[in-house]
Symmetry: none
Subunit: 226 residues, 4 copies
């Protein structure tokens, strides 16, 4: 019996900037550095949320800290780098969460459906934990060729790939109709993105989120099942 995390996300995510991986204790200087870094990160998240990534100026971010303008450049080279850094956290969480979502070969269509619901709930939880960043992601452009836009796109690619793999297994097992899995997954991700946008940015659907999510999964499952 196969037993593994859903998917190896590290392949997809690539090298998220990792600062301070080592477990050695920090010197005072390092601690101070880590604190400053954290100040900048928190401030950036707030500013991106308020003004949107593109309109956010580095000086806006610094205004929320008590650091000098030049200090920013000791930690990051530009705006896109700090966004990458913020994103890395989300990626780490997704990786962990989906990794823990252990998957068995589904014994039945029902089990497959349950797994799909589990996945949805898991993602929902991750998004809740990273609400600010997810808002920034779902209300941002994709497709242009700035570093930022590629990052946002990358985020969706990861989600798409997760769905695609799951759909492939469903088709292999004969639970799902043999659709184009990429199309399937994009369709679901698109719907999901719209849903998250309405939920987090527009603050709609706040009544019974779980039920709504279940509806979505149900519709999708019914739409694609064998």
């Amino acid at each position: 019996m196969e037993r593994s995390g859903l998917i190896n996300l590290n392949d997809l995510i690539g090298s998220a900037t990792d600062i301070n991986k080592s477990n050695e204790p920090m010197t005072r200087r390092e601690k101070s550095k880590a604190e400053k870094l954290q100040q900048i990160r928190s401030a950036a998240l707030l500013v991106f949320l308020e003004k949107g990534y593109h309109k956010a100026a580095i000086s806006d971010i610094l205004r929320y800290t008590n650091l000098a303008r030049g200090t920013f450049y000791l930690y990051y080279q530009d705006k896109s780098q700090i966004f990458d850094d913020l994103l890395a956290d989300l990626y780490k969480d997704i990786t962990l969460s989906l990794g823990q979502l252990e998957i068995e070969n589904q014994k039945s269509k029902k089990a497959f459906y349950e797994q799909l619901k589990n996945l949805a709930r898991t993602l929902l939880d991750v998004f809740r934990r990273h609400e600010k960043l997810v808002i920034i992601l779902v209300s941002s452009s994709i497709g242009r060729d700035s570093v930022f836009d590629r990052r946002v796109e990358g985020f969706y690619e990861i989600l798409t790939e997760v769905i695609r793999v799951l759909a492939s297994r469903g088709i292999e097992s004969g639970y799902l109709k043999p659709h184009n899995t990429l199309l399937l997954s994009r369709l679901l991700i698109g719907g999901l993105k719209e849903f998250i946008f309405q939920w987090l940015v527009k603050k709609r659907y706040t009544d019974d989120l779980e039920a709504e999510i279940e509806s979505i999964v149900f519709i999708f499952m019914k739409g694609v099942e064998q």
Copy 2:
């Protein structure tokens, strides 16, 4: 038997700017002015496409024409106005196309399904005719509060409303399960947006567009039918 356009889009769209309705012949001067207007419009479309609306500077647009900086302001007051103007064209086309898509009260689930496919194909055609603008729309940020973002959002609202009305009829007629129609329509629009993005921006799915669209409609229909 009721027979009417699908939906009165004029209510949603508002008065698209109408220039040059009169049939009187233009003087040479007026013709030159109209040409300059067209130059600016074309240039703006290109620049928005290349750099994205937010990064596009008015001087970028003017660089594509051989006009002086001040000239822009003879035609538009700012960047948002020219975008509105471009959008008005698309809206006019959508209005016309959907208006011609006459709808009968569906006699059967099958007829309802056909109608859904018709709608999808019609929108597809419109989008093909306005490819550049649609690319700009699907690859732009929403959720911030600039004029631009409200326009983009408005575009999706229109599409969402069209789907929502159709879904309502389907539910009333007993062909569809009584889902939350707003959720349904957002879900489909989200998926569609993602699809259009992949198709127009990423240039994927170019093999058999009609078949892909049919797949989408099929999945959606199957997912929500009674």
Copy 3:
């Protein structure tokens, strides 16, 4: 017995732009031209009043007419010229009014005092007739070297000269102390200007204007009498 207008103002005023001095009947074309001229003049007066001379743009003036931008330059070369033209009217009125204010050699201090009051009342009436222009004059900068500023200054020079001449006569006749007449006149003009400003621009002192004016003349007369 000497009998003459108070002063020959034409010497002071110089060549106010005089258009249409001849009495020959106007052709239709000339009439149309005169009308356009009048349109511009009225519009300019309003705009100068609202925005102040310096902030007034030529296009502001033209917006109040139904003339094209280029047309302005058929009548005036720039903003200062039209101001000169407006001023010429006021000058003409002052000249006329003061010219009619016939002056005898004052037989007594009392008569001299009456004459001073007459002068004040006369000026007051002129200012009332040209309220808008006077407002523009009293609420404008002076002392810089633009054409406009020299015009404003010229206006005060005229008034100052009128007072100075009268004061000289008063001193010659022994009714007034032998003060520096230029100082005297500037002092009075300065006070008057402030008074007019408060009256016309700030809309104070509207209760009993004549009484206030009489107060001013009284104080001044008492201050300088022998």
Copy 4:
């Protein structure tokens, strides 16, 4: 016996911007910054003097320094702010000077008259020390609603109020006729303004300034005395 400064000017003036009150020694950097500030202030004063406040461009000011365009905005937000800053210096001086001009309840008309002369001389001295700024003030428009115009007007209001209070006391003590004190003070301020204008801007009356001032006070006193 009452003994106090003439008037509490702080009520009228408001909080003049106070920079660098602390006595700690400046670092080299702070010193350089203070020098730059001073460069800008001096340049602004010169430019305002030459071109007038309204025609002065920020780039004109910067041309007199060797600073970059953006540097201005490190010190001031716009043109009006630097004018306010310059004005604050004058206000501080007026406050100090008039504050030191201690006033006793006047025992006689003569004493009152002396006090008036003292006031005039004091103001004259202040104006001499701030010649450039005073020139800018007396040759500027008032009455429009820009920030600048309100500042200029405020300056005259202060002077007017000083005179008005003194006149009130004179009337209370029976030395002056019971005129409308506001009218009185405006009249004197108007005359004074005109005088200062001629003296500082037109460079007249430079022979015996003290005597001229004495004349003015004498005329005024004689004009209004009981």
